[in-house]
Symmetry: C2
Subunit: 347 residues, 2 copies
């Protein structure tokens, strides 16, 4: 399924680039030995790293550029002057058809601006969103936006709901996903104009979406809905707060298991089972946030992740490509914009 | 220290009122046997509950009213027509000096509106905020606003930073607390106008506040700063997301410990230590969010908490009262608005 897939990587994006990028693709290569990589970045730094990357190196082509987008760069500035940056060139290779997707751990705002400019949005979508998966008591929930759009209108949130619903149906395989809008309370009057407006539009749209209504922060972990819709400011903070809470809990557990001989022995006995919990909640497992709403696959890795996390982001992109995800989203969006007549009316 | 303290309770506020309120005050009475309670609510429902409350009943006076604020009520509507509700009368008793503080588990927006109207804000404070404590790897962090103000200006956030800093210094006893503003990235350019404006004001204010800059969601659990400042929409969602994540993690742990004989045995051996982790992260332990910025002690309990959680909220109010917290906040705010000349200039 992955034979012939070519993926572009922004080798200079992220806090620990390019080292983590090359080590990440080396790990990804073990899982997807057929996939080829175009590596955009500083050739002088990438060449020695690839020499230590073993057999993965044979699947990589370096596309040299000495320009990179910094974390501090404003998206508008990158749009004006960033056409030779590793991020831009990597995204452009997808638009040109040289690669099927792009992965970057760089500046989120810039990646969104560049992807939107270079790849364009799908018809009917004003702003793309970043979507990611959260572990829940019931399985997994997709949440969007996780940070692409700091300020969102009611209509943006409505579009996120539509895209998230399609994503849950086509990629997660949930037959009839239910959708919730993140808010400070479940009552209709709670929140700001954007969330209330989006809820009204969803209710009045006539789209066949199972709209649950408002959900609160604790509903994310509970798995109350399959799709959680929110603006990029709140979503980013909720995502990182959840990650920080998992880290705190692990820290407290580690202390607890080290606090007595009995507890240490208990840990040894339960270790196998506890490792599963750790894997289940490992933020690196959920690394690889998808930009939904673009004419092309673009995946954003956490800027501070390690090689394993970056490899997971690469895996997300490869799976979206090999499943033909974007084609399915386009089909579904087309279907949603032409709602069928009710069956009874045709009889 | 608590002899003579009188606390007013909105007996009809919260999802499980009045039962949880009466059971909560019964538990609180065991910890604070000297404290007297004024119970505002439906006498016919409260009388039989108090009869089953044991010795705590002797410390309670019922102030009957048959009106209560619903969760669905708009704050503006409560301000117009809610003067005979249990919430209003409880807050009013503080303004009249009959009680030193008020605790309610009712409608947050209404409680804020009523408290602000009845108790008035402190000089120099435009909007009160809800503050709460979070467990962190380093101890505890105070975060505000947790839901009083859905939309906040830069100046609101600036005032929250000042109040939070004073709170951490006077109540938590941190000598030189550092303050962070919650944002989607640490860089100066990240975020919306409100957070960037508040950061600028803090830097240019000349106030002796140790301003760390922007922090992200994961910094809450890490304990990067002593005070986390945010708007009420984001703060409420971060709080509940953290609670939901703790619940999810506990759920996964419970499954893991039940998954094999070895794991069950491990749990038995480590149980004592694990109970400490559970207590440390129990949301009920952190129940009792404080309204900062008012001329009077007002504590908001989680609407869905149980009696133990409500008792903790009562405990928070009693401790704020017995520490003379509001006097100290007023002194500090006065001092901050009249910055002293640098020592060197006086020599």
């Amino acid at each position: 399924m992955t034979a012939g897939v070519i993926l572009s990587l922004d080798a200079m994006g992220g806090d620990h680039a390019p080292d983590v990028v090359v080590e990440g693709l080396r790990i990804a290569h073990e899982r997807f030995p057929d996939v080829q990589f175009l590596l955009f970045g500083d050739g002088e730094r990438l060449t020695p790293l690839l020499e230590k990357a073993g057999p993965a190196a044979a699947m990589c082509s370096i596309r040299h550029t000495d320009q990179a987008v910094t974390n501090e760069a404003k998206p508008s500035q990158v749009l004006r002057t960033g056409r030779q940056t590793s991020m831009w060139l990597a995204a452009e290779s997808v638009a040109k058809g040289e690669a099927a997707g792009v992965v970057s751990a760089g500046n989120t705002g810039a990646l969104m601006a560049v992807s939107k400019f270079v790849l364009r949005t799908l018809p009917g979508i004003d702003r793309p969103a970043i979507a990611g998966l959260f572990p829940t008591e019931r399985g997994e929930t997709v949440m969007l936006d996780l940070g692409a759009n700091v300020e969102c209108s009611a209509n943006n949130l409505f579009e996120f709901a539509v895209m998230g619903e399609v994503f849950a149906r086509t990629v997660l395989g949930v037959e009839k996903p239910n959708v919730g809008i993140l808010n400070v309370g479940a009552e209709d009057l709670k929140g700001n104009d954007a969330v209330r407006g989006a809820a009204n539009t969803l209710r009045q749209s006539g789209l066949p979406i199972r709209f649950h209504g408002f959900v609160e922060g604790n509903d994310i972990g509970a798995g109350t809905v399959d799709v959680v819709v929110t603006d990029g400011f709140t979503g980013n903070i909720a995502l990182k707060t959840a990650e920080g809470t998992v880290k705190l809990y692990s820290h407290l557990l580690r202390d607890a298991f080290g606090s007595s001989i009995m507890a240490k022995l208990g840990y040894l006995l339960a270790r196998r089972s506890l490792t599963k919990v750790k894997l289940r909640t490992d933020p690196r497992r959920y690394n690889g946030a998808m930009f939904l709403g673009l004419n092309g696959i673009a995946v954003k890795s956490h800027g501070g992740t390690d090689a394993l996390g970056f490899a997971n982001a690469v895996g997300v992109a490869i799976e979206l490509i090999s499943q033909g995800f974007n084609e399915r989203i386009k089909e579904e969006l087309g279907r949603l914009s032409r709602p069928e007549q009710p069956q009874a009316a045709n009889g």
